[in-house]
């Protein structure tokens, strides 16, 4: 079975970030690029499935990103993915969600998969629209927010996390699945993994390999970012000062009670 995991390469969520007002794009200089945190969960899901299913199951990671970020993918290989595919092209720059999904879907069709696992959300763009768009273009079912998954008789069965509990959903392969953060903490890349990752391949793909009918990148974007603003500065909050722990706890409790939070 062939499992493919999409991994977006995003600026380090912990780094301080700045948007260039002229280009309306994130200033990437000096900010480290990492695997999108949600996608590490997707990869963890893929690796768990591979361990469970065994046999000739392989895990391929797929990213659409500038060629210069290629080495960031080694971490996914060090965690245990078998190989990687990187779709890079100057013509992809400035793609919106539609363009991104359209190009990715065509590339993923070329790569081929039985199960495509997609993180639920990117840390930078955060539209959450990519998984749905991919399933649409790939003409596959879409099962979302999985906290557990298994494959049997050519079918994927998941436990789908909901607010009130979970649902059990089955879908035929090939299919697209997104993971919930309850799937399990992403594993560390072991030293063995890191040393072994050097020898794994990161295949390159470009627009010319895809044969798209419509133009992508900035030229093909169907949406336009008009303006942006930083989130409002948070207020200082209430500081409770008290002579001892019990009085302090009481004051906090009274405050929460007044707000009807307890």
């Amino acid at each position: 079975m062939k499992i493919v995991v999409t991994v977006k390469l995003v600026p380090d969520p912990n780094a301080e970030k700045r948007i260039d007002p002229a280009t309306k794009r994130l200033v990437r200089t000096g900010v480290e690029t990492v695997l999108n945190p949600y996608d590490e969960y997707a990869l963890e899901a893929a690796l768990q499935l591979k361990e469970r299913i065994g046999g000739d199951t392989t895990v391929t990671v797929f990213a659409m990103a500038p060629e210069s970020l290629k080495e960031t993918l080694r971490k996914a290989l060090a965690m245990g993915a078998d190989d990687a595919v990187l779709l890079s092209d100057a013509g992809l720059e400035g793609s919106d969600v539609w363009g991104t999904s359209y190009a990715m879907a065509h590339a993923l069709k070329k790569v081929g998969f039985d199960l495509l696992i997609v993180g639920g959300l990117s840390d930078d763009g955060s539209t959450g629209a990519t998984p749905g768009a991919l399933a649409e273009y790939l003409q596959t079912p879409l099962v979302t927010n999985a906290r557990k998954a298994d494959v049997a008789d050519g079918k994927l069965q998941i436990e789908r996390e909901t607010d009130t509990g979970y649902q059990i959903v089955k879908a035929p392969l090939p299919t697209v699945m997104t993971t919930a953060l309850t799937f399990g903490e992403p594993r560390y890349a072991s030293l063995k993994g890191i040393m072994g990752a050097k020898k794994k391949t990161i295949a390159a793909m470009a627009l010319a390999d895809l044969g798209l009918d419509q133009s992508v990148g900035a030229a093909g974007a169907k949406t336009e970012l008009l303006s942006f603003a930083p989130p409002p500065v948070r207020g200082k909050g209430n500081v409770v000062e008290a002579a001892d722990g019990a009085t302090g706890a009481k004051a906090i409790f009274d405050f929460l009670k007044e707000k009807k939070l307890v």
Binding site: R74, K75, Y188, A189, S190, L191, I194, M195
Partner: protein, 382 residues
């Protein structure tokens, strides 16, 4: 010249940092207070490959270089010195002697499980009356009926008595050299050797979660083939082991300084006095700048020594300079980190108070500052 880490070195550093910050740091205070040896962290470090980091894959190691090893020790020490010394002593003192001097059979028997982190091992050089003067060893081993029979005592031996410990390699006098001086050999002593016992853990000021014990040998008996390397080579061998070990103890020192600096920097930004964060006072800024400056300096020396070792150069002097300097930097940085914390720095619940206690051994273990200066002076031909 090139100051860039390789992709692999960076990946290892980032793995070590993630692991140390998420798994080790939150536990450090508890481990210190309870003197609790970190069995679960050792097993996680084994899984990640840290316990055999620099050894070839065919011996169960990860096959990484010395630079990666130094970076890893730094990151772990930044979170907790006890965990760092447990790992560093295991690699540099416990396993390395087998790698450097073991026969193929000894490597298979000992180095493989050690590198896999399934077993820990000690290195017993120091004696109650021979520390800096370790060549003045009074533990004796005599050949009798195809065995070595050992009598003597070793003091302050790291990793010598945990549930995972398989044994300790000790130095012992095995005869007299032609020049009349004692002949020293390294002997492999498994925990189960009859006549070999360990004391309870010492009560320590720092490194409290690490395992340090006194070893006693009363007609302790091991088979004749338990020598590590040729008979009489023990003195030369332990000097070689200590040369390499200096890089890791230096990394341990600077890692501790980095941890104290992290705490001090954050505290200085948060703590308000006279209506502003104390980080706005020039006196505090200067302290933080000096701390960072010394840390960077020590790090460069360590990485240079590690690089020299990886490139087959003579690294002995650089490593000694780095060990000495990093140990002293750790003292100054930890001291200022407590100072920046004011009264809170003296409180048990603030990590800098633990770091302050953990620091002192950096200037004593594996060669005191004084001995380090002697070694360097000798290398300088003085």
């Amino acid at each position: 010249m090139n100051f860039d880490l390789t992709d692999e070195q960076r990946a290892i550093q980032s793995l070590a940092r993630d692991f140390a910050q998420h798994e080790v740091k939150p536990r450090a205070e508890h481990m210190d207070r309870e003197e609790a040896f970190p069995y679960d962290l050792v097993s996680k470090m084994a899984e990640l490959g840290f316990m055999g980091l620099p050894f070839p894959e065919k011996y169960g190691g990860a096959g990484a270089d010395t630079v990666s090893y130094a970076l890893t020790v730094m990151e772990i020490a930044r979170a907790d010195a006890s965990t760092a010394i447990t790992m560093a002593a295991h690699v540099s003192l416990g396993a390395t002697p087998f790698y450097l001097f073991g026969t193929e059979e000894q490597k298979q028997k000992y180095l493989v499980p050690l590198a896999q982190g399934k077993m820990l091992w000690g290195f017993g050089l120091t004696e109650p009356n021979a520390g800096s003067d370790a060549g003045n060893c009074s533990t004796k081993a005599v050949k009798q009926n195809g065995n070595w029979v050992i009598n003597g005592t070793k003091a302050f031996i790291t990793n010598s008595g945990t549930d995972l410990t398989g044994g300790t390699t000790i130095t012992a006098v095995t005869g007299t050299r032609p020049d009349g001086r004692p002949e020293i050999s390294n002997i492999i002593v498994p925990q189960a050797a009859p006549g070999f016992t360990r004391s309870k853990k010492y009560k320590k000021m720092g490194w409290r979660a690490s395992d340090t014990r006194e070893l006693s040998f009363v007609d302790a008996t091991v088979p004749e083939d338990s020598l590590l390397g040729p008979q009489g080579e023990g003195y030369k061998q332990f000097l070689t082991i200590l040369d390499g070990g200096r890089i890791s103890v230096a990394a341990l020192s600077v890692g501790l300084a980095m941890g104290a600096y992290d705490e001090a920097l954050q505290y200085a930004k948060d703590r308000v006095a006279f209506g502003k964060p104390i980080s706005k006072f020039q006196a505090i800024q200067f302290k933080l700048v000096d701390m960072l400056c010394e840390i960077e300096h020590a790090k460069l020396m360590i990485l240079k020594a590690a690089w020299e070792k990886d490139h087959g150069r003579d690294y002995v002097q650089t490593a000694s300079l780095a060990k000495l300097y990093a140990a002293e930097v750790s003292r100054r940085v930890v001291n200022e980190a407590v100072q920046i914390h004011g009264g809170y720095g003296f409180m048990d619940e603030y990590p800098v108070s633990r770091m302050y206690r953990d620091q002192k051994i950096n200037e004593i273990g594996e060669g005191t500052n004084e001995v380090q200066r002697l070694v360097i002076a000798r290398l300088m031909g003085l």
